[in-house]
Amino acid sequence: MADSTLYKYVLSLGDDALVSAQRLAQWTYKAPFLEEDIALSNISLDLFGRANLYLEYAAELKGGNTTADHLAFKRNERQFTNLLICEHPNGNFADTNVRNLFLDTFHKLFLEKLVESKDKQLAAIAEKARKENSYHFRHSSSWVIRLGDGTKESNSKVQTALNNLWMFTGELFEMNKVDLEMSSQKIGVDREALKPQWKSIITDVLTEATLNIPEDVFMTSGGRDGIHTEHLGHLLSDMQYLQRAYPNAAW
């Protein structure tokens, strides 16, 4: 049986959260200082929780013996449908905070709409994630402001991060067939419609941070179709190692 549109939709949201969580977890034990190490690890944990909620729901929609673990650990790179920005390497501390700012700002707007979903389970997940995301947004936006409005060195590092990551932000607002169908059924969110507000929040943060908004350049995409950057495979090989080496290991 072909996968339902709702399944594909929920899975893509779960993949975004899971890949972001795994990426952020790579800061654990090597953040610039202890409190920050704990903060990034906690945000990662929230995202793993969010991923678990989405993927458990996706597994239920898929039916059969599918579990959330199955979806996380037994799919290949091409079967992952996360947006490319989620898999982007952590880089330096400025790179990570810029990536988080782009995503947290997007989720702030996206989840606000998803709580109105006609699908009760999606609405409940969104309500839960929305509260947590407000902490994440505070964290990433305050760091971008601190670093931007900091020293010459920190300012130039955030500006470089912004310029490098900007090309991945177009994909946040792309509507594929699944998005269009879910949005027309009032289950999903019209991502495209969130762009002006997103740009306005980002502009406010960057202005306060004395940073320049990058000019719209070529925007890359493909994540939703399973066309990823070379970085995802490495991330998955690390995350899936145990289940691949010892299938069905449990403890």
């Binding site: 409190e35 920050e36 704990i38 903060a39 690890s41 906690n42 945000i43 990662s44 944990l45 929230d46 995202l47 793993f48 929780g49 969010r50 678990n52 909620l53 009760k120 389970q121 609405a123 409940a124 997940i125 309500e127 839960k128 994630a129 509260k131 947590e132 902490y135 505070r138 964290h139």
Partner: protein, 151 residues
Amino acid sequence: MVKEISVDTIWELLHKIPDPEIPSISIVELGVVRNVKFNEDNFHITVTPTYSGCPAMSFMKDEIVRAMEAEGISNYQLHTSLAPPWTTDWMSTEVKEKLKEAGIAPPSEKVQCPQCDSPKVESISEFGSTACKALYKCNTCAEIFHYFKKF
């Protein structure tokens, strides 16, 4: 003897399960247990997660299972609900007092030092040892303390 067990008995048992991170309060006081109902020969216990990534959640569920089994109760089902989402507003004044006694500043609009009640505190980190806590410092008595975030 199943018939001697009531919904109240279940609540009492749940009241005895401590929060794994803050043992001075129970999982009922924390607001994790939302409902206990008896329906078609089964007790239905509904719990809700605090933070969606809270690793203590599965531990709390295991503790509920252990508590039921220790009393020989087998006719129960454990459910998880997400809506309405958990909030610290569900904590009673009494519970907030217990947190304070344990050296943790309770959730509130205004953070105060749990040792000397001073409002002159500063945030060290929004994220403490667990997702639900932030790290603060008291500028009056120099105590470093956890604040249970208003959520």
